[in-house]
């Protein structure tokens, strides 16, 4: 399902490397509904033993019939609304026929010519500016089972069979691997903000195939496209695209034609390899699903859903810039990360300066964060920032305070006392440390005396180090200058 055309050959070959890249993304998003798409089985199978979230319907037993999950339809419509897409009144489901061991019925219930959502777009950062990437469509279908290949055979787990899956197809408007990554991150931010999917690529909740082709710069026709599958992270999407662009560029430079094919990304080797050529492409024999009546999306229903739309990442970004005075970079990063956005807003509500809060979250907190499970109370972060502002602790001590703050959940004030990290601003108390530093760094002292201005910063850093960050840097510098004068 793609709009890219297949151009046979290029009449004029450009100078080496002078190509324009055209990228389109096809994403599959598992919806976070309670039950599966067409039966009552729980859709969240994470961690469940194989074939325990199954019933006659999602196993495709003889005689069973599908009943549509209305919430899955609503989630798809909400996504369409968030993308400012066109939502037609009449839509239907179709059967996509192909035999495969993970497909219980021999066909997948999907949508062919009348998707729930048509068009739509997202705005992504592109260098210093932004670009709008349009979507072709968003449709709803059922997920398949999962195969695991073992020596001597394959195992199949149908827990995933029938989980609602939203397919989102972009127009071929993406120009660089970085833009592809930005597009995916924006999609994920929107999906998470809507609460329709956790969209975790590593967990397979967001899966992405890319189509990539090259054409001589200035050429209107599209080049031959190659589809790349098996991309399990933002990083692999970017790496695979970089590899594929390089591969195609080299092939074109050698005068070799690009074959229209499906290639698989091998993460460990960092290369793509041929999986299926165009000649082997399936004829899916789509036809309307006779077991499901057409779906009519009444406008009143759509309006109700529109009322439910939360603040979306783009609006949030604008608000962060306008209300909090954040720069574009910080606003963009925070607004597309739901966890960070929440922490940011709560920290500001707790009295912290927005720019300082953003800085902390973007840098020190981000470094400690492995996933969204990280527990950091916004009021603690706000207090930490306030302690620094008040001069009660130094910035360096504050950084040291962050890991135990997260680990113990104790209030910053208490931890400062417990760990003895209060800032020392009394010059008498710092004198020993400053003298020790001067003795231990004779060459820096020589440099300073020779008029090298930066030497004082080095010496100050050494004082901070020897006091485990507790020294008030201003007082330490003043003392250094006095003792070296």
């Amino acid at each position: 399902m793609t709009v890219q055309q297949h151009a046979q050959t290029h009449d004029s070959r450009p100078a080496t490397g002078d190509y324009e890249t055209v990228i389109g993304l096809e994403c599959h998003v598992q919806l976070a509904t309670q039950s599966k798409m067409f039966c009552g089985c729980a859709a969240d199978y994470a961690g469940a033993a194989p074939n325990t979230h199954v019933c006659p319907i999602c196993l495709g037993m003889p005689g069973v019939l599908p009943v549509m999950n209305r919430v899955a339809v609503e989630y798809t419509l909400l996504t369409g609304l968030a993308l400012s897409a066109d939502i037609p009144e009449a839509t239907k489901f179709d059967r996509k026929n192909y035999p495969y061991p993970d497909l219980v019925k021999g066909y997948q219930i999907s949508q062919y010519d009348l998707p729930l959502v048509k068009g739509g777009s997202v705005e992504i950062a592109s260098g210093p500016t932004t670009r709008r990437i349009h979507l072709e469509r968003v449709h709803l279908e059922e997920d398949t089972g999962k195969l695991t290949h073992i020596p001597g055979g394959s195992l199949v787990d149908f827990n995933r069979s029938g989980v609602p899956l939203m397919e989102m197809v972009s127009m071929p408007e993406i120009r660089t691997p970085g833009e592809a990554r930005g597009y995916l991150q924006k999609l994920r931010a929107i999906l998470r903000t809507l609460g329709v999917s956790d969209a975790d690529m590593e967990k397979g909740q967001l899966r992405c195939d890319v189509n990539v082709s090259l054409r001589p710069t200035g050429e209107a026709r599209l080049g031959t496209k190659v589809e790349v599958k098996n991309l399990n992270s933002f990083r692999s999407v970017q790496r695979a695209l970089e590899y594929e662009i390089q591969r195609q560029t080299e092939a074109l430079d050698r005068g070799e034609p690009i074959l229209q094919e499906t290639r698989g990304w091998l993460e460990d080797k960092g290369v793509t390899v041929t999986q299926r050529s165009k000649e082997e492409a399936h004829d899916y024999r789509y036809f309307p699903e006779p077991d499901l009546p057409p779906v009519f999306v009444e406008r009143a229903w759509l309006e109700q859903l529109r009322q439910r739309l939360p603040e979306l990442p783009d609006a949030r970004r604008t608000r962060y810039m306008q209300s909090f005075g954040l720069g574009a970079y910080d606003a963009d990063a925070l607004s597309t990360d739901l966890w960070a956005a929440r922490l940011f807003e709560d920290t500001v509500s707790a009295g912290a300066d927005p720019k300082k809060a953003a800085n902390w979250i973007q840098n020190d907190v981000a470094r400690l964060r492995v996933d969204s499970e990280l527990v950091l109370k916004a009021e603690h972060l706000a207090e930490l920032i306030r302690l620094v502002d008040e001069g009660a602790i130094g910035i360096s001590a504050a950084r040291q305070l962050l890991p135990p703050l997260i680990e113990t959940g104790k209030a910053p004030r208490a931890l400062v006392d417990e760990l003895g990290l209060a800032q020392v601003s009394d010059s008498a108390a710092l004198e020993d440390a400053v003298r020790g530093t001067i003795q231990a760094n004779p060459s820096a002292v020589t440099d300073y005396r020779a008029g090298k201005a930066t030497a004082i910063n080095f010496l100050k850093g050494q004082v901070m180090k020897s006091t485990r960050g507790k020294a008030n840097p201003a007082v330490a510098e003043e003392l250094l200058r006095k003792l070296l004068a």
Binding site: P56, P62, G63, N97, K105, G106, R285, F287
Partner: protein, 504 residues
């Protein structure tokens, strides 16, 4: 006294309510008759469920003792083997499901169990309901109770023959293009196809999903109405089942006059090529009889009738090509696994060995009709013609209450007569297919005899207007003697049956 097995549902109801007999006695009388006669005569059943029947009969007796008065409580019945039954092998007449034991009941199975019916067995059928003679059963052909050398019709031939042989007062069949009405006509019993969506398809092993519909075989229209009362109605498990409220179908039968009822006679259903003249004449006589009951007749045209067969044989195979894709020999059913064979070998060999010729023919036809480059010319065009056929009926129903005509162009034919000629076989459904394509209710009632074989009169109604169809059928039946004729097999007496029945 007539044996219990020749009684109607209404008569059995009276006997059970008065405690003249127990449900177990009724069940055993039927089981004994089946066990004594079925093998050597019609061969209507693939599975006899004696244990289930006796258990259900005992429970029905308990419910009777507790004052339960459900209309079908303790009434024995037979299900076509395309309807799933938990713990009871369900084959759809196919080798590929030879050892398939469902883990849940079809909605119809559950509803009938809740109504207190007693399951005697599973009826033979054309494989996956594809056929008009029950000769496409992968197990054995069923024979006609009026002449054992002839077919009972199909695909629900086992159900029709069982009711005609007095093995059960009612049986359930499925109708996709005539598979209830045509065997009903050929076996001389009432065969009713409700409006598409009136009866839940959940648990009906699909042939063509947009056409399949479950309906009853009975020996009287009143019994048909009683069964319809129990099985009709919305099912949340079937998205195509209709939300419409279900009337009491027996209420419609109180009106015996047909005064003012407007009946349409489609020109295309009479004196056409391929129709047996004696059948044509018999049906015309029946229609004259309807007129004598007060009905107003009018000739109409259903101009797209001639395209019905071609339309059906594109849509039904297209749907079946997808519906039957799940039978791959891996998860259940027949699995042909040779040493060293890969997965695709298992698929191909299991399907090759598990499906019969007609099923393969239709899978191939349907796959072709849906293929890239042919879809528009075949499947899409067929869907457009289907709309035209519906519109033909819509136009007629603006001025008429029902359409009447023959059910089948011929009476029961000898076994083997049409097996080598699929087209000749398909022509059997000429008059039933348009109704199926339009999703309308239709009944076949016994309405004549030609050379000792039954002829059926078909009555077709508006969508959801089963009541009018049943009312006309009942008025006809009650003023004629055809339904009282008993087939030779029905007349065979089983010696033990005359006994009062085994003690409870």
């Amino acid at each position: 006294m007539d044996p219990l097995t020749s009684r109607s549902i209404r008569e059995l109801r009276k006997l059970l309510d008065q405690r003249d007999v127990s449900a177990l006695e009724v069940a055993r009388a039927h089981l004994e008759r089946i066990e004594a006669l079925d093998e050597s005569t019609v061969r209507s059943l693939l599975t006899v469920t004696r244990d289930v029947a006796e258990e259900q009969a005992r429970r029905a007796d308990e419910r009777l003792a507790n004052g339960d008065t459900q209309p079908l409580l303790g009434i024995p019945m037979i299900l076509k083997d395309v309807l799933t039954t938990r713990g009871i092998r369900t084959t759809a007449g196919s080798k590929i499901l030879e050892n398939f034991v469902p883990i849940e009941d079809a909605t119809i199975t559950r509803r009938l169990a809740e109504a207190g019916t007693v399951l005697l067995g599973k009826a033979n059928m054309d494989e996956f309901a594809m056929g008009s003679s029950t000769e496409n059963s992968a197990y054995f052909p069923t024979r006609n109770p009026w002449d054992l050398d002839r077919v009972p019709g199909g695909s629900s031939g086992g159900s029709a023959a069982a009711v005609g042989a007095e093995f059960a007062p009612f049986a359930l069949g499925t109708d996709t293009g005539g598979s209830i009405r045509q065997p009903g006509a050929l076996c001389g019993v009432v065969g009713f196809k409700p409006t598409y969506g009136r009866v839940s398809r959940y648990g009906l092993i699909a042939f063509a999903s947009s056409l399949d519909q479950i309906g009853p075989f009975t020996r009287s229209v009143e019994d048909c109405a009683l069964v319809m009362n129990a099985i009709a109605g919305h099912d949340p498990c079937d998205s195509t089942s209709l939300q419409a409220s279900v009337p009491d179908y027996t209420a419609a039968l109180r009106e015996v006059s047909l005064k003012g009822v407007r009946l349409a006679l489609p020109r295309e259903y009479f004196s056409v090529e391929g129709m047996e003249p004696a059948v044509d004449a018999s049906v015309k006589a029946s229609i004259a009889h309807l007129e004598s009951l007060g009905a107003n007749l009018g000739e109409v045209s259903l101009p797209h009738t001639q395209y019905g067969l071609a339309t059906y044989y594109l849509i039904a195979p297209a749907e079946c090509s997808a519906n039957l894709a799940r039978y791959d020999g891996v998860k259940y059913g027949l699995s042909v696994r040779e040493p060293g064979a890969g997965l695709w070998d298992v698929y191909e060999r299991s399907r090759g060995a598990g499906f019969g010729r007609e099923v393969k023919r239709r899978i191939i036809l349907g796959t072709y009709a849906l293929s890239s480059g042919y879809y528009d010319a075949y499947y899409l065009k067929a869907q457009k013609v289907r709309t035209l056929i519906k519109q033909d009926f819509d136009a007629v129903f603006e001025k008429f209450d029902a359409v009447v005509g023959p059910t089948s162009p011929n009476v029961a034919f000898p076994l083997g007569a049409k097996t080598q000629d699929p087209l000749a076989m398909y022509l059997n459904d000429l008059f039933t297919i348009p109704t199926s394509l339009a999703g309308l209710p239709g009944v076949s009632v016994p309405a004549g005899m030609v050379d000792g074989l039954p002829v059926g009169l078909q009555i077709i109604g508006k969508a959801l207007d089963e009541s009018t169809v049943l009312r006309i059928a009942h008025a006809f039946e009650q003023s004629t003697e055809w339904h009282k004729l008993r087939s030779p097999v029905a007349q065979r007496v089983v010696s033990r049956e005359s006994r009062a029945g085994s003690p409870i």
